[in-house]
């Protein structure tokens, strides 16, 4: 009989990790395009800089931000929102100057700046008479 061994992953999520079973939410975004580039703002309340990853690959900007809860599942008197991590991907339809993409996180607000590649910038063409 021909059997192929499949490696079994033996790591178990630690019970202390309160953030393990939290859902992922789509972060609300504002996007602004100006002649030099695109600015993206995302609401990621509770996210810390260490937990944020921003990747740009094949014309897609992906953002992931993880949240560490301050308390372990309290007995809520009132719960209007659920804690969760954030994840979102945008397809960017213009050439981007990949080397100069910059991101910063301020008070739970993530800002990503994607400068346009030279080829994508509008140029004024003088008409010769």
């Amino acid at each position: 009989m021909n059997t192929t061994a499949i490696e079994v992953k033996k790591t178990q999520p630690s019970m202390d990790d309160k953030s393990d079973r939290m859902p992922y939410f789509e972060a609300a975004a504002d996007i602004y395009e100006d002649p030099d580039g695109i600015s993206v703002w995302l609401d990621t309340p509770g996210a810390t800089p260490e937990g944020v990853s921003v990747t740009y690959e094949n014309g897609a900007l992906s953002v992931e931000a993880s949240v560490i809860p301050t308390v372990s599942r309290p007995q809520y008197l009132l719960q209007e929102y659920e804690l969760g991590h954030y994840r979102r991907t945008f397809r960017i339809g213009i050439p981007v100057d990949v080397e100069n993409i910059a991101a910063d996180l301020n008070d739970g607000e993530l800002h990503v700046r994607l400068p346009k590649a030279h080829a994508a910038k509008a140029r004024k063409i003088a008409v010769k008479s």
């Binding site: 789509e26 972060a27 945008f90």
Partner: protein
């Protein structure tokens, strides 16, 4: 130009048990803008809060991304909590460019919350960290259990 998100990346699964039902997927892709309540953009008036008890304290958390300490005003009287927040617009040069998406709410809102206990107003503490407001509100002395010492 920014085109649509990947449909797979919709992040609301946790709230909709029917998310895996094919028709739900279909409707999601048709109505592109299905979002959690707090993210309906300008329509949102009051960010949601979570409230719980921790010993002699009532705790409140409220997500206020991008809000600075000076933009939050908190008032406590008796068992009422009044929360006023103003959130500024993102900084752009409006003349040069254009908005491709506006999902986040800006502007002002005020909310009054009735708490299950009267508070020790002087001792209420507020902290704004990473866009999350946390209030630690000690209950008024007459709501705290009185510990009786045993005579030896």
């Amino acid at each position: 130009m920014v085109t649509t998100d990947f449909p797979m990346m919709r992040g609301l699964d946790a709230w909709r048990p029917s998310a895996d039902f094919p028709l739900t997927r279909f409707f999601d892709s048709v109505f592109e803008d299905v979002r959690p309540l707090w993210a309906i953009g300008a329509a949102m008036q009051t960010p949601p809060v979570n409230l719980w008890e921790e010993g002699d304290n009532v705790m409140l958390e409220c997500e206020l991304p991008g809000v600075k300490a000076g933009e939050v005003d908190i008032e406590v009287s008796g068992d009422q909590l009044r929360l006023s927040v103003s959130r500024a617009e993102p900084k752009t040069d409006e003349r040069k460019g254009r908005w491709l998406r506006r999902e986040r709410a800006v502007g002002q809102f005020t909310r009054t919350i009735k708490l299950p206990y009267e508070l020790d107003a002087e001792k209420v503490e507020a902290k704004l960290h990473n866009g999350v407001l946390t209030l630690t509100m000690p209950k008024a002395p007459h709501h705290r259990p009185h510990r009786v010492k045993l005579l030896k």
